[in-house]
Every structure is written in C-alpha cells, then in structure tokens.
C-alpha cells in the first residue's frame, strides 16, 4: 500500500489557501473601493474645515428645512408603503385569482421605470396643466411642487420593497397556519394580527428598512416633482446637489454625512434587532 495517495484533509467545498486569499482580497478590495472609500471621503470632506464649519452649514435654515422635509417624507411614505405592501403580498399569496402574474409584474414596475419618468408622469397627472391638477390647484391643494407630490413620487419609487420582501416568505409559509387559526374560531383580523404578522415580521422589517433608506435617498423622481424650492420642497439629496453645484463643498458634504449617518443608523438598528432576537430567527428558520 505504499503507493496509496495521501488523504487530502480538505472538505470538498473548500478551496486551496491561495484561491481563498485571492478571493478574500478581491472582495475586500472591491468593498474598499466602492463602499468604504467613498464613505470615508464624505466624512473627511464634511470635516475639512473642522466641526464648527460643518455644524454651521447644518444649522443654515435651508439645510435644516431639508433635513426636516426628508424625515417628514420618510415618516409619511414608509408606513403607507408598509401597509400597501402587506396588503398586496397578502392578496397575492393567500388568494387565487386571475391576473395574479400581471399584478406581480405591476408591483415590480417601479424597479424598471426610471424615477425621472415616474416624476414626469406625476406632473402630467397632477400638474396645473392637467384637468385634475388644475382643479386641485384651484381648490388650494397643489400636488406638484409641494409635499404631496414629493410623497407620491417617493412612494412610487419605494413601493416594491416591502411587497418584494414579503411575497417569497408568505408563499413559502403557505396558508395552513391561517386556516388552522380560522378553524379554531379566530376572526380574519385576529388571524392576521396573531398568526400572519408575527410570521412575516422579519421580512417586513427588512422591507421597511430598505424602503426607508430609499425614501430618504431618492433623487430623480423627487427632483422632477419638487421644483427644488429652497427651504420648501428641497429634500436632503436635492439640497446636497444644489450646494455641490454652487461649490459649497463643506455644506454639501456635511448634509451628505447626515444622510449617510441616517442610513447607518437604520443598518445599526437592523443588526441590533437581529442580535437580540437571534434565537427566534433561528427557530423560525428551522421549523
């Protein structure tokens, strides 16, 4: 048996050390170049003239108004989208009806339509030149170049996130638990609150966080419908762009840093929740 080959002590799914090193290096390099680098630059540029200058830029009334507006939009658009997303996912996964595939495609539409086009559609629909828009403006409820238009544009762009997260989870879970709850005498609402919602809560959380991140960061659609009125309809991304175009780089990057921090905060919240409920998550997956 002297010609027996040595047994390779390597699991079948593992690569050689050299390949592993190369792949890990590639991943870290790519991440550094595309994610960490820009992230550092944002903060470095914001603080280029010290904390004082950065805070001064943020306490400018226009910047403060942009931060308030962006937060307000997220507070309105995200819960509404969560509600619509849950309703759409519930409808698609728990009932059989004609045109289901069409409805799923429709939900995905905002992913494939350019946000600028979406913004233009809202202007055509609700602008003062349209029948509906003219009437709304005359009644004192303008949509375009005002908060409702920005909220509409943001909702359109972020609509798929919640539904997209929920549909696969709800399909996988099936209807049996809901049916069981019904046979045990629970009403439809009770079934939703005590069975459906707890089962989808993690997917819902991811959907809401994604939707929130996009809602705060949306530029294209909002740029078209907002009219970019400083201190009134300019959101954070819009204000950042305007400041940057005016060569006010500290102001632009300070605001960009706040936007980044908001995104990092959502990411942190998600991770904290995951760590805290790790056992439940694992239990739900094993079942």
């Amino acid at each position: 048996m002297s010609d027996a080959r040595p047994i390779p002590f390597r699991p079948a799914t593992e690569e050689t050390p050299a390949t592993r090193l190369a792949l890990i290096g590639l991943a870290i390099g790519g991440l550094g170049l595309l994610v960490f680098g820009p992230l550092l630059i944002v903060f470095a540029e914001a603080l280029a003239q010290g904390w004082r200058a950065a805070f001064a830029a943020l306490s400018n009334p226009d910047a403060a108004s942009a931060i308030r507006l962006t937060l307000l939009i997220a507070v309105i658009a995200v819960p509404l989208n969560a509600a619509f997303g849950i309703a759409a996912a519930w409808f698609i996964t728990k009932f059989d009806f004609r045109g289901k595939a069409f409805l799923i495609t429709l939900i995905d539409l905002p992913f494939s339509v350019s946000p600028v086009v979406a913004g233009l559609c809202i202007i055509l629909m609700f602008g003062s030149n349209s029948l509906l828009g003219g009437w709304l403006v005359a009644s004192g409820y303008p949509i375009v170049f005002a908060l409702p238009g920005i909220v509409l544009a943001t909702m359109f762009v972020t609509f798929p996130f919640v539904a997209r997260e929920l549909i696969p989870v709800m399909i996988e879970q099936g209807r049996a638990e809901e049916e069981a709850a019904l046979t045990l005498g629970a009403s439809g609402w009770r079934v939703f609150a005590t069975v459906t919602l707890p089962n989808i809560r993690w997917a819902l959380l991811y959907g809401v966080l994604l939707s929130n991140a996009r809602a705060m960061g949306e530029f294209g659609a909002v740029a078209v419908v907002s009219g970019k009125i400083r201190g009134q309809t300019a959101t954070m991304p819009i204000t950042i762009e305007m400041l940057y175009n005016e060569y006010l780089s500290v102001a632009a990057f300070s605001l960009a840093a706040v936007l980044t921090l908001l995104a990092l905060l959502t990411l942190f919240l998600k991770t904290a929740l995951e760590l805290r409920h790790a056992d439940q998550l694992a239990a739900a997956r094993r079942h």
Partner: protein, 239 residues
C-alpha cells in the same frame, strides 16, 4: 354529532373535484375517507370544515342545514396534514389559541385556560412540553399537539387530513392507537382522510372509498374486504 352530506359537488374552474356525493355519518362514528390522491377526499373534508364551499349540495349537522355556516361557526377540530402549528408560539399558546381567540364574553378566565391546556397535554401524554416551540418537537409530538389544539375548542366533530402521513411506521402505529383512544374517550364524530388502506381498515368503524371525485363504496372494513363493490375497490384494498 350526526353529519349528512347531501349531493355535494365541487368544481375548481373546469375540473370537477367532486361529483355529487352523498353520505350519512352517524354520531360518534370514526370514519375513514380512503382513496388515492386526486380522489376528492381532502376536498370533502375541507367542505365539512368550512375551509371550502361546495358548488352545489348541502351539509347537515344534526339535521340542520350547515352549508352556509362559516369556518368559525362550524366548530370543527381540524388537524392539518403538516399540522400547521403556529411556529412563533409555544406549545402551550398553540393549544390555548382557540380559547383565547374567543370573544371576551365567552372567553374562559386565564386560570381556566391554563387548566384545560394542562389537561390536554396530559391527554396526549406530553405533560411537560408546554414551554417548547414547535420546531423543538419531533413529528409525532407535533401531530399530538395539533390534535390537542383541535380538541381545546370543544369541537363538535374532529376532522383530520392525512394525520399520520408524515410519520415513520412505528410512530404511526402508536398514534393510530392514540387517536382511537381519544375518539372513544371523547365520543366525537371523527373523520380522517388517508390513502393508506391498511390504516383505514384497522382504525375506522366506517370506510368510505373514493375515486376521481366519486364515492365507490361505503361500509364496515370487514364488509368492504369481503364484498368490494367495484373492480377499483378490489384493486385498491388489495394493494
């Protein structure tokens, strides 16, 4: 409870899951709906439980028309094929679900619910598993918890969809015996769906053989064995 199925049919789009079928189930009987997949046995069970509504025909409970009763009003204890335990609740909360879901006026006090759940856990001979989650149970334990959960609502009848389908042979034999005992103890009219002729013959008082949406034969196991009504029945029970 005496159950009568009167000319029930069910169409899913253009396909007929059930041709008009009629069947009378005496109160307290243990009945098997036996047939291959696609024979309409599960559809019939779901119609009895109110999870599906017939295209035509009537269902009578103790002589009263129950066709239009909602799933909640039927008070049928239903055991699902994959058990459908609520995965985010403990076994205790699973079993208590039907009682806590009652409207405030008819909901038993918390201590009473706890007492009943404890009794049911003893009935299924798993007195200590209350705090566990479904994912921590074996297949046989899950099946018994599903049975206890269905019994907790004090059902008028017990409906089981392939209750032993996902279990290994040894556990299956034990649980068969368990179901028989629970049936005899509670006296509930019990209907279970199976494709296993041995299981049906061994466990049921009355066997209903189904094929392609029709009832082929209704009878006591011994009678069906001795006098199969059709070539299909003869083939199926000798398999």
């Amino acid at each position: 409870m005496h159950i009568e199925i009167d000319e029930i049919s069910k169409q899913f789009g253009v396909t007929a899951a059930l041709h008009p079928v009629s069947l009378a189930i005496p109160s307290g009987a243990l009945v098997a709906l036996l047939g291959p997949s696609g024979s309409g046995k599960t559809t019939l069970l779901r119609i009895l439980g109110g999870l599906e509504f017939p295209t035509s025909g009537r269902v009578l409970f103790d002589g009263k028309d129950a066709t239009a009763l909602t799933v909640q009003e039927r008070r049928a204890g239903f055991v699902f094929q994959s058990y459908a335990l609520f995965r985010h609740m403990t076994v205790f909360d699973n079993i208590a679900y039907g009682l806590t879901a009652r409207p405030r006026a008819s909901r038993p006090p918390r201590a009473e619910i706890a007492r009943r759940v404890t009794n049911l856990l003893e009935l299924i001979q798993l007195p200590t598993i209350g705090p566990r989650f479904p994912s921590q149970l074996s297949g046989g334990q899950r099946q018994r918890v599903a049975l206890a959960r269905a019994l907790a609502i004090e059902p008028r009848m017990l409906l089981l969809d392939e209750p032993f389908g996902a279990l290994d042979a040894k556990v299956r034999k034990e649980l068969r015996q368990g179901l028989r005992e629970i049936h005899d103890e509670t006296g509930l009219t019990t209907i279970f769906v199976t494709h296993d002729q041995e299981e049906a013959m061994e466990l049921a008082d009355l066997v209903v053989v189904m094929s392609m949406g029709r009832i082929e034969q209704i009878g006591k196991p011994a009678d069906i064995r001795a006098r199969p009504a059709s070539a299909f029945v003869r083939d199926f029970i000798s398999a």
